[in-house]
């Protein structure tokens, strides 16, 4: 057997044929896009002021981080560490908004799913809040909170909470009554029903809600940072564009996408696998 064949077999064993297939097929559009991007520089189709060469975008990352005085300074969001400060402030807001917004959204959603009166109170205001897309609140948020952290956080929370609320509510409403009855007839309390039936039963919806709200929340954050922020990746691409630093705009957009894809793949997708896939709550072809 040739060396190539044995390497190929080892790789297939290690990662699995299906996973490799998925990876290769999924990367085709990216390969095409990057090739075209590179060919643009080689053949001079569009000037670098519109589309910078790949190398420049790559270098921009290190140029922005050039003056940084070490790891500690980066973590302290020191202004000298421009690149890491933008990334970390966006990430920090996402984490903060998730830590506040997701549990509250789930809690109110579950309550509304269980109780008709509560859902009657909260549903209309929820539809009202959802009718205005998250970013439409930016002008008002700037008036209230000024430019900075509070405005971006407010925009994110507004997006995350209501999406999470509606998804959790629908999830609880979809749980078969018989599960609740089964716990009640074994002497379980309302609290037992919430913990053992509503929360796990609503999990498919809750996880969909998390993926949706983190997706929309992340997008809303970028928009909020552009207009109402003083740091972060959204702020970075907006201010760089104003200064015609096109390579920084490209860099910002790429980092935003990579962070989003990584969160979904390494945080939310595994969560889905560990809960609803294990419990057989998703439809799978047999």
């Amino acid at each position: 057997m040739s060396a190539i064949a044995s390497v190929s077999i080892a790789v297939q064993r290690r990662f699995g044929r299906q996973n490799l297939r998925k990876f290769f097929l999924g990367s085709i559009p990216f390969v095409v896009m990057i090739s075209l991007w590179h060919m643009n520089a080689v053949f001079d189709w569009l000037p670098p002021v519109f589309i910078p060469p790949i190398g420049e975008v790559w270098d921009a990352f290190f140029i922005l981080q050039e003056d940084c005085k070490g790891f500690g300074a980066a973590l302290a969001l020191d202004q000298s560490c421009l690149m890491s400060t933008h990334i970390l402030s966006s990430l920090g807001r996402v984490v903060l908004a998730a830590v506040i917004g997701l549990p509250f959204g789930i809690a109110f959603g579950v309550l509304a799913g269980m109780s008709r009166p509560i859902s009657k109170i909260l549903e209309p205001i929820g539809i009202f809040a959802n009718s205005i897309s998250g970013i439409a609140w930016i002008p008002l948020a700037i008036v209230w909170f000024g430019v900075g952290w509070m405005t971006t956080l407010f925009i994110m929370l507004n997006t995350i909470f209501w999406l999470m609320f509606f998804n959790s509510m629908m999830g609880v409403r979809g749980v078969a009554r018989v599960y609740e009855q089964s716990v009640l007839t074994m002497g379980g309390s309302r609290l037992d029903v919430i913990r053992d039936v509503y929360l796990p039963g609503a999990m498919p919806s809750i996880i969909t809600g998390m993926r949706m709200s983190m997706g929309f929340g992340w997008r809303a954050l970028i928009a909020a940072e552009m207009i109402g922020g003083d740091s972060g990746l959204g702020f970075m691409i907006f201010s760089s564009a104003e200064e015609f630093k096109i390579e920084e705009v490209f860099l910002g957009v790429i980092i935003i996408s990579i962070i989003f894809m990584a969160t979904d793949k390494y945080l939310l997708a595994p969560l889905e696998k560990w809960t609803i896939h294990r419990w057989g709550l998703v439809w799978k072809p047999t």
């Binding site: 018989v178 009855q181 089964s182 074994m186 002497g187």
Partner: protein, 263 residues
């Protein structure tokens, strides 16, 4: 000896889900169930037998008449009355062992003690080796075995079963019926078993309560004098007592079905 479960003059109406019209489901039901008895309840569809079971389970509030267990009025669900539902009411997000131990967990029993008890019941229903499987990995028959064990393990005073074997295939149903008989011998539980299958009612019941068409009344009680040890399909299908009683129940039910059809 006082009866385990008593129903006196129980009458029930409920509003129809779509039309809102009042449905007269049960009319003056009077019955007594002794400790350790296995009672089967048959009747035409819509005769209120499931309504009765829901009232006994405490899942349906009632106003007229009285239902009590050990002299205590039934008022809401409680761990003294376990239910095996028609749909497999085992929680998809709990493994077989955790489903079966759920009742004990809700009661706050220590883990070691609970696991020992769960193990016994897994053996009783023949699910050894499947402890860590999730419900979606089980066959229909195994799911219903798990549901029976889930209810039994919580050690209720009375076990209420609502057409539990209706959704499984014929072969599995026969096995499950024989297994339930074996469980009844082993645990001496008081069981009320609702069914629309006359064969099943005659096979399992110490006594069979036949209900009339709506409004449901207790039309007749058929005693089936066959020792539990002798209740095996291979022997029973040619047994005189079984055939006589099954035909008697069938006749009683068919009279009611024709009434229901004429209406």
């Amino acid at each position: 000896m006082p009866a385990k479960l008593v129903v006196e003059d129980l009458t029930h109406h409920y509003p129809d889900e779509y039309t809102g019209e009042s449905v007269h489901a049960l009319e003056k039901i009077n019955l007594e169930v002794q400790e350790g008895e296995l009672i089967t309840v048959v009747g035409p569809s819509g005769c209120g037998k499931s309504t009765l079971l829901n009232i006994l389970a405490g899942l349906l509030p009632y106003r007229e008449g009285l239902a009590s267990v050990d002299g205590v009025k039934i008022d809401g669900p409680g761990s003294d009355r376990g239910v095996v539902f028609q749909e497999h009411a085992i929680l998809p997000w709990r493994s077989v062992a955790k489903n079966i131990g759920h009742g004990l967990e809700l009661r706050g029993m220590a883990k070691d003690e609970r696991e020992a008890r769960v193990k016994d019941f897994i053996e009783l229903v023949g699910l050894t080796g499947f402890e860590d499987k999730y419900p979606h990995e089980l066959s229909g028959g195994m799911k219903q075995r798990c549901a029976v064990a889930r209810t039994l393990c919580a050690d209720p005073v009375v076990m209420l079963m609502d057409e539990p074997f209706a959704a499984v295939d014929a072969q599995t149903r026969i096995t499950l019926q024989e297994e339930l008989n074996r469980i009844a011998i082993a645990t001496k539980k008081t069981i009320i078993f609702i069914t629309h299958a006359v064969d099943e009612a005659a096979f399992l019941g110490d006594r069979c309560f036949v209900f009339s068409a709506r409004p449901g009344r207790l039309k007749a009680i058929v005693d089936i004098n066959i020792p539990r040890e002798k209740r095996i399909w291979a022997d029973l299908s040619a047994d005189d007592e079984f055939i006589t009683k099954r035909d008697e129940i069938l006749k009683l039910v068919r009279e009611e079905v024709s009434v229901a059809v004429e209406e």
